[in-house]
């Protein structure tokens, strides 16, 4: 039986369809979850997709964080449920304090939409075990508020403990502190990523197939967990 990976749809989510498709292409079963339903329907992992949940009102992710589905996801994540937040999903995870820091307006104020090289900082998470540490990958980025910030002590701690999941290489698109593109929590089950791996899973539409690694990673992780 293939692993069941939930993909949440909030009002204003954009990339839930692509995220679900990425789960399927990787070989998993995508289960669509609705923001207003606190039932996670027995999924083994959750993806919070990109988009503009609640119109980005107040702050990106600030209102989505209080959606009924998020209460269950926050409880689950604290108990080890793997959660990947992509772009707006990353913003939601920071607002929910499942990940440290915050995502702020790009330093140059421009929305950035381009293919972006990343260096994978650690293969030691539920979502990155298919990569080699220091592997360079190419995935699209498309965000206006992608600049990762945290206080220096937090940044030092993230760096020292291998919790920087990905950094921007060959150009920082948004002024992110220490070129951070993604971080993980202490346990390594919650990952936030500003670029969009779900858009880099097929040669027809993506700049590479590199993004698929995040989705094969979670299936590998779940297979290992049940073995």
């Amino acid at each position: 039986m293939s692993a069941r990976v939930g993909v949440v749809t909030f009002p204003g989510s954009l990339d839930d369809g692509d995220a679900a498709r990425a789960v399927r292409v990787a070989g998993g079963e995508a289960v669509r979850l609705w923001h207003g339903d606190s039932d996670l329907h027995g999924v083994d992992a959750v993806v919070l997709p990109g988009g503009f949940s609640y119109g980005d009102y107040l702050r990106t992710g600030a209102i989505a964080r209080f959606a009924p589905v998020m209460e269950s996801i926050i409880d689950g994540a604290r108990g080890g449920l793997p959660v990947l937040g992509i772009c707006n999903g990353f913003q939601i995870l920071c607002e929910a304090h499942l990940l440290p820091g915050a995502l702020t307006r790009n330093s140059h104020l421009h929305f950035r939409n381009r293919d972006q090289w990343l260096r994978v900082g650690t293969s030691g998470t539920a979502w990155t075990n298919s990569f080699e540490t220091d592997q360079e990958i190419l995935v699209p980025i498309k965000s206006g508020e992608g600049r990762y910030v945290a206080d220096q002590a937090t940044l030092d701690e993230l760096a020292a403990n291998g919790r920087i999941v990905a950094t921007y290489v060959r150009g920082n698109p948004n002024g992110s502190e220490r070129d951070i593109a993604g971080v993980t929590n202490e346990a390594g089950n919650v990952v936030g990523l500003m670029p969009h791996p779900e858009h880099a899973i097929e040669a027809l539409t993506g700049p590479s197939l590199d993004g698929l690694g995040f989705f094969t990673s979670i299936l590998k992780h779940l297979a290992g967990a049940t073995a």
């Binding site: 209080f66 607002e95 915050a102 702020t104 307006r105 330093s107 104020l109 910030v149």
Partner: protein
């Protein structure tokens, strides 16, 4: 009815590119003596009865501000003093 105002500002150490963009536009207005502009958010909350400042602080801490990057202040405004003072009228 009581009205409470919450002012939310980015912490001083957090870059405010919007504020910088505004500051950089000021010379076009002939203003050259401004050294910094920072942009925040003002939120007005009306209670049906008595204002509950503790509850407002809780709302601000949980939702209106993100304590990771923002500070907030809370104050109650009196009904009569609530009208904004007309600005730019030299008379």
């Amino acid at each position: 009815m009581a009205r409470v105002v919450v002012d939310v500002m980015l912490k001083p150490e957090i870059l405010d590119p919007q504020g910088q963009a505004v500051a950089n536009a000021l010379p076009r207005l002939g203003v050259s003596d401004v050294s910094s502009v920072r942009i925040g958010r003002r939120i007005e909350i009306e209670f049906t009865g008595e204002a509950d400042l503790d509850r407002v602080r809780e709302i601000a801490d949980k939702l209106l501000a993100n304590p990771v990057i923002e500070d907030f202040t809370v104050h109650e405004v009196a009904e009569a003093a609530d009208e904004p003072v007309p600005a730019g009228d030299p008379s």
